[in-house]
Subunit: 382 residues, 3 copies
């Protein structure tokens, strides 16, 4: 918060909201943000052969955002565009999908807000925490494999207190086909519900929605979340994400998560289980069949942030496929250590992590492999 | 108009122009706008079978704009980018065409303005009215089929009074190949002229260029327009839009329109006729031949807007193909009712319309079909 | 500089930096820019047959930029997006590459700045001069053929005085594969170094980095630059740009340039030599083989700008292929005259140039050809 408004200061560079314009009558307020993540990756041939299998540098994310309220604080909006290669669904879509968020919300009562448009589903904790507010260089393999990502539809958010305990109920009715999907005949909708409970009260600065205890909570804070999502007649391997196959399958995801912070310490855990009626689909052309990665995953993280905002963190993540697809997908485990330095909260930071990855063939037909992955990242934005 | 400038107020949130910056000496002024249209569509199997043939939700439009003047009020510019799938010509182009407008204008005399760049041709009324200032969820099938859309070239606008009657002459010399077209050897140019007459004087707030009588004109207002356009050696089925075929044809379009508003009532009518030297072109690969939809269309709308800015509107639209292509294209009619609520002029509004569509095979070889289409839309922008 | 800040003026429209926001404590400053180049091209059939082989108009460039400093003047960033067709590498990439610059810099000492991200390599003079600050309608064929363009990696800039002579050393360690490249197994890195010397002192307004003597230097100014770049195991015909081939080759580029300005006169010369271990690669499908244009180029320009900012300029440019590829590429020469009018420095200008082009087959197996190219351009931006 760089500016202390004496009279009306129309513009303000806010730590969390970016460059913010407010009309003199306060009925409207517009925030503008950008951020980039520049990254270098190094992957070894194996756990023992430290020769580099690949090395690269790239712009991982370049995002432009605007959000705010118009006419009254009850009517809010959020728009986000992403321009980097990995951000545009270019591997799985025949078009560059630049639009990430385009959603309007109306606050019907102090407790109830309803939205219409495209944004994140109320899924697993690490997904709903922004990619710009992670404490590792990127989200875990559990999220990458099982997230229900973004979708277009109707969103409802209900927030209230039970005694002193904040309680949030979230629900979404959405297309189930992901960002910028065109209607496909025969595809069904997705139904998602999520409950969040904060038994020890609200986090400082909404800290349940960013990783690491940057604020060094002076009393312990806990958030618990549970999500169920059913995606009827999905045609992509991850429902909202992944390659498209011919045919449909129902997908069911169950998710639970726990986020705790106290005096610089933070720990985050999430469990996800995904089931599918049909898991394997023949490839459209010759080639490997497409499959839904049904199975379960667990991601656990613990970190300590020093008062000077240097942070150390550890992560253990594992994903395990269902029996039916074990000839197609290994069980993967990640053991990761991270060191970060926050110059301006999550907006400007240096990040690094080192991962030992094991991929185990659970059918024991082929061997397993393991290797090391080093990642360095600078994030800058407003 | 949220702000009453006492001294110099550099920034201003304008109802029509968006977030506007003006230099202290007023020689330059820059406006910034964004807008989204979030839409849900439901289409029945037929007029009698109300089962859903398709249902979907998507971001129909996400636009960023800047316009203004630099150095002096005589030198103006307009830039517009569109990021939504249907907005990037992705069906008919092998690239995402994000640029919509990129044009400079110079006001040579108070009556004469000349432009260079890419923008809308002076075509049919409903095309030159912004997609963000429509009173139905989208433009009619007449526009979709026959519009001459945008092009790159030279644009001249002459505006004067004959007695008390404003008269506008508009002309364009353009590539004829549409947005962001690359030069193609053998392709010719397009020549477009348009006349607009306002026999009852100027509309309030330039109301001939937005639909619905939001301002509730206190005296009757009428705009009449006529356009002729010739596109020499075109290689796309719609000249500036549509799929590319091998070969060329000349296209000629004649258009007339009428726009009237008084005390909340508004009515808009347009007639378009398109002719082509050659209408049918063989497909490049096996598949249906490509054809130019030559023929005629009529769209008529009438609406009433209550003082609280709730609006009801009806539309009848019909497109009829020429004899030579009747085995390839049906005659289509739309009967549509709309209900809208304007929260902040056309910038923030709720829209819905219900259409009964008939598609009649004029060759009588195959049957006809009809069905219902329901569309819901929220638009928000500045 | 439209505004004279009395107290703190947060916003300012700067001639070079665009629309600039500065926080009240001056720790952060953000600049926002856009610019468009609208162009018309006309090419004759030959030097004698002045019939038009092609004629076209298009948006050549539409760029959005932000740059500035955050937290302190030591931490700077630069982001640039390009949306026009020819700007997105769409011919040589299977995706639209919208990101041009995304780079962070930290000023470790007053003399040393280090950057991480994607931006221009310290290559030839005409490349490192912005496309928006050229005095011809576009850069020469020497740059088009031999530039090392942009890349992702580490950048170091060292700047000091030797006596009164500014000396700049620049180095880059980069992927060698160009903008937004994905890591490719087997591809090596690129190593680039550049020295710039300004024996007569700094140019006014950093005039060594824009073409034409707009400021009419009152004492003579000279910049001399030399670049060496080695791109190990490159897989594109130009290293950082061009089509991808199967296999790899090392590329070595040597570049020298000279830029002089005095009292409205300016002259710019650059010489580039490129070598490749392997020059010819078989096409992936049937078709012409791909080749690296190894060889040398020279571009020389001289211009005079009148006090009213009307400018005349002449250019001679030649590119000559190595013997091994002379059956695939001609020797090309351009003789060009330009006339420009600057309304607001390089930000708003009218440009035109007329080129006589000769393409000579050095193997003498086929004939040579020559023709005329006329280009008109308007540039506008902030």
């Amino acid at each position: 918060q760089e500016q202390q408004p004496s009279q009306h200061t129309p513009w303000h560079l806010d730590l969390q909201k970016g460059l913010q314009y407010t009309t003199a009558d306060s009925t409207s307020s517009l925030s503008f943000r950008f951020r980039i993540q520049n990254r270098a990756d190094f992957e070894t041939n194996s756990g023992k052969d430290l020769g580099l299998a690949s090395a690269g540098g790239y712009v991982k994310r370049l995002r432009l955002r605007t959000s705010g309220h118009l006419l009254s604080k009850k009517l809010t909006y959020s728009l986000q565009l992403g321009f980097a290669n990995g951000d545009t669904d270019d591997k799985d879509s025949d078009r560059e999908q630049i639009i990430r968020d385009a959603v309007l919300f109306y606050q019907f009562t102090p407790a109830l807000k309803v939205g219409f448009g495209q944004t994140k589903l109320p899924g697993n904790r690490q997904r709903v925490i922004s990619s710009g507010e992670q404490q590792f260089v990127d989200r875990s393999i559990v999220n990458a494999t099982f997230t229900i990502d973004r979708d277009f539809g109707l969103f409802a958010f209900y927030e209230n207190q039970v005694g002193n305990v904040p309680l949030r109920l979230q629900a979404a009715l959405s297309t189930g086909d992901g960002r910028n999907a065109l209607p496909k005949e025969g595809s069904g909708a997705a139904y998602t519900g999520r409950v969040e409970i904060l038994p020890l009260g609200e986090f400082t600065m909404d800290g349940d929605y960013f990783e690491g205890d940057w604020v060094r909570e002076q009393s312990p804070k806990l958030a618990v979340g549970v999500t169920f999502s059913e995606n009827k007649k999905a045609y992509r391997t991850g429902g909202q994400i992944g390659q498209s196959f011919a045919g449909f399958t129902d997908l069911r995801s169950a998710m639970a998560d726990l986020h705790f912070k106290y005096r610089g310490w933070a720990t985050l855990h999430e469990w996800i289980n995904r089931r599918a009626d049909t898991m394997i689909f023949p490839a459209e052309n010759e080639g490997d069949p497409l499959f839904v990665y049904a199975g379960q995953g667990y991601n656990g993280q613990v970190s300590y942030q020093f008062p000077n905002h240097f942070e150390l963190a550890g992560r253990y993540a594992v994903i395990t496929p269902e029996t039916q697809i074990r000839h197609l997908a290994p069980q993967t485990k990640h053991y990761t250590l991270a060191a970060n330095y926050y110059l301006r909260w999550h907006r400007i930071k240096l990040q690094s992590d080192l991962t030992y990855q094991t991929e185990k063939d659970l059918t024991n037909l082929t061997g397993s492999r393991n290797n090391w992955i080093l990642r360095l990242q600078m994030e800058l934005g407003i």
